[in-house]
């Protein structure tokens, strides 16, 4: 099955991004497809390469990037939500790209199930 994922929260304050990551990883491991993960609201903060959690904690920004590299997942950050929060190309982490909200609608049209992870 093809899943489209929407992440509505940033890393750390909420667990939503962790849960989305774990779901995506499990779905891919089970042979499903996750062509794209879209980041909206504070979810755009998942793409901030300046994020530096303490060494004994997980680094979600890097984890998303690694998962994307391994499985060819398209990590898309909404441009309007990103600009509001200072997420620009200069600080965009590996594996992410900035694009429009239309990419979320397209992903929802082109996948079998849409899942929202948020508050």
């Amino acid at each position: 099955m093809k899943f489209g994922i929407l992440v509505n929260e940033g890393p750390f304050t909420h667990q939503a991004s962790d849960t989305a990551y774990q779901f995506t990883k499990a779905a891919l491991a089970a042979g499903h497809e996750v062509p794209r993960v879209f980041f909206y609201f504070d979810g755009v903060n998942n793409a901030n390469k300046l994020s530096e959690p303490q060494s004994d904690d997980r680094n979600l920004v890097k984890m998303w990037g690694a998962l994307a590299a391994e499985h060819g997942v398209d990590l898309v950050v909404c441009v309007a939500a990103a600009l509001r929060r200072g997420i620009k190309d200069e600080i965009l982490a590996e594996g992410f790209r900035i694009s429009g909200l239309g990419q979320l609608i397209e992903q929802s049209m082109g996948t079998d199930r849409s899942l929202v992870f948020g508050d």
Binding site: R36, F41, M109, S114
Partner: protein, 139 residues
């Protein structure tokens, strides 16, 4: 890695669930941007207001004193998109704006308190409507 989706001829039923108060968090403002973009793709859409989300379309917003953006007029744009979809026979797009009756009642509101024209649905009817949708996006 950029991927492309096959969307030619795809027509889905989208449901946007607005659950949060208009101010206090950014959810109401940003989900509204999502709804507006979806119109460009000519998909069917239900825009639902439940829980504190019903306050988003209450009449008479004036957030000047708290320094927040006055985005309530944008709901009028959604109403216009719906009317365009209803009236233009060349557009194969059905839009509905619905509000949950129980959420209104719990907050002492009626449809007369709302700034836009909506269908008031019971929780059970809204649940049945949700069941019919292909894509549910909420905030």
């Amino acid at each position: 890695m950029e991927v492309e989706f096959e969307t030619e001829g795809v027509k889905k039923k989208f449901l946007f669930v607005n659950r949060k108060a208009p101010y206090g968090t950014i959810y109401a403002l940003e989900i509204l941007e999502m709804v507006l973009i979806s119109a460009a793709f000519e998909q069917h859409a239900v825009i639902a207001f439940i829980d504190d989300g019903v306050f988003q379309i209450q009449k008479g917003h004036n957030p000047k004193a708290i320094g927040m953006k006055h985005f309530a007029p944008t709901f009028g744009v959604i109403e216009m998109e719906k009317e365009d979809a209803d009236e233009d026979e060349d557009i194969d797009m059905v839009w509905r704006i619905v509000v949950e009756k129980e959420s209104l009642e719990a907050r002492g509101l009626t449809a007369d308190d709302l700034a836009i024209d909506v269908d008031v649905l019971s929780s059970a009817d809204l649940s049945a409507l949700m069941n019919e949708q292909d894509v549910v996006l909420s905030a």
